[in-house]
Structures are given as C-alpha cells and as structure tokens.
C-alpha cells in the first residue's frame, strides 16, 4: 500500500479527509511532450504556408511575422493550452495527464507561466535531460519548472461509475443457504480483499486463460480459508464462481439480503410447499 501511495499526490484536508491523486511518470510525460512537439511542428508547418502567402505582399514583413509567430507558438502553446484546458495540452489530453497545484488548490495563471518559461532550463542540454533528471530525483516527479511553479502532473482520474451489475445480476448463489456463515464472511473479509476479488472478476476477460485459472485458484483458496461452508454448498463450483458468490455475499444490498432471508424463512416455515 505504501509503495502504491509513493507515486501519489496525497492531500489531507483540514476536515481530516485524505485524498490521493496518481502522479504521472516521467516516461508518460515524455510521451505527452512528444505528442505536443508533433502538434507544434504541424502548427509551424501550417504557419509557414500562411506566412509564405504574406510574402506576396512584403517579403520582409512575412519573414518578421514568421519569426514572431514561431516564437509565439513555441512559448505560447503550453501556456495557452494549459490555461484553456485547465492544465492540459493536446499531448496531456491524449495521455490523460493534467497539471495541478501541488497543494490541490486552484491552478493559477502565474503557475502555468512559470512552469512553461522554465522549460528553457529543463530542456538543457537537449531532450529535457535536466528536467528529466529532476523528475526522476523528485519524490513528486517534478521537473524544475514544476518545482518553481508548485505544480505536479497527475494522471486524470477515471470518473466513470463502477459497473457492479455484472456481479450482482441475481444468479444463484449457493452460499445464500447459510446466512450465518455469510455474515461471518462479511465480517472477516477486509475491504482490500473485497476490492481484490472485485477487480479480478471485473477484469477476468483481460487475462490469459492460464493466468486467469491460476489467479482464481489462488484467490479461491484464500477466500475458502476465511469461512468454511458446508461441502454441499461449494462442491462442484469453480473457483471463479466461488469468488462471484463471495462478492455477491459482500456487495449484495442489505435490503436484498433481508428479502432473501425472509423468503428463506418463509420457505423453511412451509416445507411442504417447496
């Protein structure tokens, strides 16, 4: 957990709430810069055409314009994009990166200006070697411009709601026959374990078949050891199905659990109607 948090920007609010934003790695940032470089190059090419057309009126004026426009594009691209898109350039948008204040506060224009102007030092001697070295040495992956401007580059968080439907789809769960054991399982399982199982189920189609079988075998073994269910409830079901049942037990809405328990009680009271 600590290792994972090491690459996070962790902020504790005065209310005592801690939130963490994932920091972008130097390699990702370099890729974003490469995209931006391509965009600037494309922009320069387009400007060259426009400026050459101006040359039909005045050659001197067109050359002066090209000098000024190229300079403006080099300096102004990052400034303009990051101000317009709240800390993002084209490259950062594509790679889901964002510049934010190092204290989680609102990004100020002066911060954007400083971090972009200090590229002149970060670029030295070539290919952002100074900036890259500073980012590698910095605990927050900050280049010199970020240090001076008090900014960090984070990975933009995924804002989509989790899709729990696929694990709570109302399929038969043999563990439900033992509400007291289910309650014990809910008590013993930790949030981290539940999250691990949930992620394994949600991403199951991304795994290689063999790795998938090995992963669910290990997880199944672990979760079976937490609470021992009667053999008739778990016999013949795969590790993956067992894990799905565990998740259903853990994440099933309380109201649904109560309904299930009431129905089971009713059925138990009238065995002849089964």
């Amino acid at each position: 957990m600590n290792a994972a948090r090491a690459s996070m920007l962790t902020i504790r609010t005065p209310e005592g709430v801690v939130f963490a934003l994932p920091l972008a790695s130097p390699v990702t940032r370099f890729l974003a810069w490469a995209v931006d470089f391509a965009v600037i190059s494309a922009g320069l090419s387009v400007l060259s055409i426009a400026v050459n057309l101006m040359g039909l009126i005045s050659f001197d004026f067109s050359r002066a314009m090209s000098v000024l426009l190229f300079f403006g594009l080099q300096i102004g691209y990052g400034l303009f994009c990051e101000w317009l898109w709240r800390g993002q350039t084209v490259g950062k948008r594509i790679l889901h990166l964002r510049v934010v204040d190092a204290h989680g506060l609102r990004l100020q224009f002066s911060q954007i200006v400083i971090r972009n102007l200090l590229r002149f030092v970060d670029m030295l001697p070539a290919f952002y070697l100074v900036g890259g070295a500073a980012a590698l040495l910095s605990t927050r992956t900050q280049r010199l411009g970020d240090l001076a401007a008090n900014t960090v580059v984070i990975r933009s968080p995924n804002l989509e709601r989790p899709d729990l439907e696929q694990i709570l789809s109302g399929k038969f769960n043999s563990l439900r026959n033992h509400p007291h054991l289910e309650a014990r399982l809910r008590q013993r399982i930790s949030p981290v374990e539940a999250s691990l199982a949930l992620q394994a189920i949600l991403r199951r189609d991304d795994f290689e078949p063999r790795a998938r079988a090995e992963l669910f075998a290990r997880l199944g073994e672990h979760f079976r050891s937490l609470v021992e269910f009667p053999p008739d409830s778990v016999e013949g079901i795969t590790d993956e199905q067992y894990l799905r049942n565990v998740l259903d037990t853990v994440f099933r809405p309380r109201s649904a659990r109560e309904r299930t328990t009431a129905a089971e009680t009713a059925l138990a009271a009238k065995p002849g109607e089964v």
Partner: protein, 333 residues
Amino acid sequence: MIIDLPKFIATGQPFWNELDQLLKRLEEDPHRPLPLEQARRFHYLYERAAADLARLNTFANEPDTRRYLESLVARAYGEIHETREKPHRFRPYHWLTVVFPRTFRRHANAFWLTVAITLAGCAFGGFATVFDPDSRHVTMPFGHDQMKPSERVAREEKARSDRFEGERTTFSAYLMTHNIKVSIFTMALGMTWGVGTILELFYNGVILGAICTDYIADGQGKFLAGWLLPHGSFEIPAILIAGQAGLLLGRALIGRGTRKNLSERLREISTDLVTLIGGVAVLLVWAGLVESFFSQYHEPLVPYSAKIAFGLVELVLLALFLWKSGGKAEADA
C-alpha cells in the same frame, strides 16, 4: 464491515452530481459571484462528498468509486480552500503602469544587486581589454574582435546604402525574440539557487565592459554612445530586471531568513516573477524596434548628439516610470 456499495452509490450519486455541476459552473466562470445560499449548499456538498470518501476509504476499497470521489473532493477542495487572490480580468494598461513598476520597486534590492554584478562584470571586461588585448577574442562576440572600432566607425559612416534595406522588420523581430529568450533564460537560471543568473549577468557585464573600453580607448566614445544608448537604455535595464527575477527565484529557493517552507516561499513570488518577466518582454519589444529602425543609422544621416539625446531621454523616462509610476510604495502593501 463493508458498506452496501450499490446503495452507497445510489444514495450519494445525486449529491455528487450536484457538486459536479456546481464545480463545472465555477470552473467555467471564476468571476461569477456565488450567492450566500448557493455557497452554503456548495460547502455542504463538499463536506458530504468528503465524508463519503472517508467512509469509502474506511469501509470499502472500490477503486473506481474512490477515484471518482477523490477527484470531486480534490476539485471542491481547490475552490473552497484557495486563499490566494482570485484571478481577475487582465487590464493591460493598469498592469503595465501600476502593477509592473510597483512589483519592480518592491524588489528594488534585488535589482541593485543585479546592477552591482553587471558593473563588476563591466570592470572585469574593461580591465581584461586594457591589460590583456588578446582576451578580446573571448570577451567580444558578434565580430567585434575582428576589427578596430575606428575601422568599423569609418565603414559605418561611409556606407551610402542601407545595409538592412528590405530586412529591417525581420531584424527587429529577431532582436525582440532573441532578447526575450535571453531574459527568460536569465530568470530561469535562478533555479540554480541564483548562481546561474549571477554568472549570466556577470558575463553580460564582461561583454559590455570589454566593448565599451575598446571603443573609448580607440577614441570612438561618441559613436558608441550614439549606437548603444537609443536601444540599450531599454535593453540593458530589461536584462537587469530579468536578473532581478532570477535572483528572487534563487532567494526563494535558498530561503535564508524566513521560516516559511519552500513551496510557500515560491508561491509568494510566483505572481511577481510573471509580472517582472512580462514587463521585461514589453521593454524588449520597444528596444528591438529602436535598435532596428534607429540605432543602426549613423552620421551623417543622423547626428550622434540626437541619438545620444534620444537615448538619455528614454533612460530618464524609464527611470521615472519604474520609480514613480503606479503610486507610492506604501500602496504596494
């Protein structure tokens, strides 16, 4: 204990959505005033989302929902806890005539230090030229070491055709952009705890001192003043102000004499750095125009006395602007 996640999401989602909408409105238009009731509601929604996040961190570990809530709380935190002045609409005239000179005066000590460093460089360059003539190959760039000043003056005064004809505007644009780049670099070198800025200023001083000494020793002081003053009266102070910004940056990094931490010190000077370098850019645009369209004309076309007078008037006006414009220093606070 693990919370009932779907119910947790279903209950919280309307409030999170409301907070998200409010944040979007605030982010799109930071100048929009928030009525008291709406501000209270915003604060309530922020606290509620923060509490949801704390609950989720304690009783569940569902990464997607946590990331979603962290992002919401982070955005709202930035809006609520920001104590710096809100960005106000940029007023160029006010900025140039009030904000820039006041900022310059607020850090006048750093400016005087840049003057001292540059003068030390000038003295070094002058001594080197007098006592070690061979050093001119090192201390005089731009071809000044290739001929004696009197030869250059004779060439310039004899020239009947305009050397920059058809490329004066280009030359002007080149000078502006080059000098602005040098200024930004001088400021950025402040990240070396100010050492890089000091070396850059000293080296500029060496070049200036060497060339001035060379011209004066060759009896071409009048030409030199007529050539340098019209644009130098803006260009040299501009580089010095860039150095002032670099020294501010270096001082903030060193942090001597203050108990504030590094990020607080840097946060304090960030607006001033941008103001100073912005002012430098404006000065250098003027210097570029003058150097290209005026400084390169010599006698008999333009009398040196007129050029010197023009340069001196510029220098006095710039000094008055920097020290007087924008009201008294007390108003800075």
